[in-house]
Amino acid sequence: MQAKIGDRIVVRGHRIGEPDRDCEVLEVHGADGGPPYVVRWEDDGHETLFFPGCDAAVAPYESSRG
């Protein structure tokens, strides 16, 4: 994954009924936009380090602000 500051990352829910979560990239710690990222989670405002797996994707800018 490659991301830049301000990008929004969506993490898919893992169980039926579990909503997707999204977060905003605050810092990029990897080379060339790679992980890990410092992110702020949209639902609770917590800031964490984030190591994306195959359940995560950078959301297109338009849909992430919709």
Binding site: H14, E18, D44, H46, T48, L49, F50, F51, G53, D55
Partner: protein, 147 residues
């Protein structure tokens, strides 16, 4: 290590145990990596929070590195499911930290391994299921071949 399905979450060592519990609750995960700079220094599980935090009536503001498990059992990103099973068995742990060149990249749980093994088993049994559902009939040997 394509069977690591979930993204990993990490926190700094000075983060409070209350914050970490809330992060686990919101994320639906049972373990969080504790990372100092780029170095993985431990992992904290929901069990750690109970047994080393709640059980000793630690302050809700206590640092998470006071209850984390360390050192962490790690596995390289190029390892396969059998390597992972061997580590789980030999160390008696339920989680392995996946590292790439020494840097933490994600968490591998026993649940991930079970899903992967179940998938392998399904692949193995598919030909048997096909045979049971649609029995294969060999062509009869022509009569002139019988002596």
């Amino acid at each position: 290590m394509e069977f690591v399905h979930r993204s990993g979450i990490g926190v700094r060592p000075e983060r409070s145990i209350t914050d970490v519990a809330q992060i686990m609750e919101q994320s639906g995960i049972g373990s969080v990596a504790v990372v100092d700079g780029d170095v993985l220094v431990g992992i904290v599980t929901d069990r750690d929070l109970v047994r080393r935090g709640l059980a000793y009536e630690l302050s809700p503001d206590a640092r998470v590195d006071g209850v984390m498990s360390s050192p962490v059992v790690t596995i390289g990103v190029d390892a396969d499911v059998h390597d992972a099973l061997g580590l789980v068995r030999s160390h008696g742990v339920r989680r392995l930290a996946v590292v790439d060149g020494g840097r933490f990249v994600g968490m591998l749980t026993v649940d991930d391994l079970l899903v992967e093994l179940a998938r392998d088993l399904a692949d193995l049994t598919r030909p048997i299921q096909d045979e049971l559902g649609h029995p294969h009939r060999d062509a009869k040997v022509p009569a002139e071949m019988h002596s």
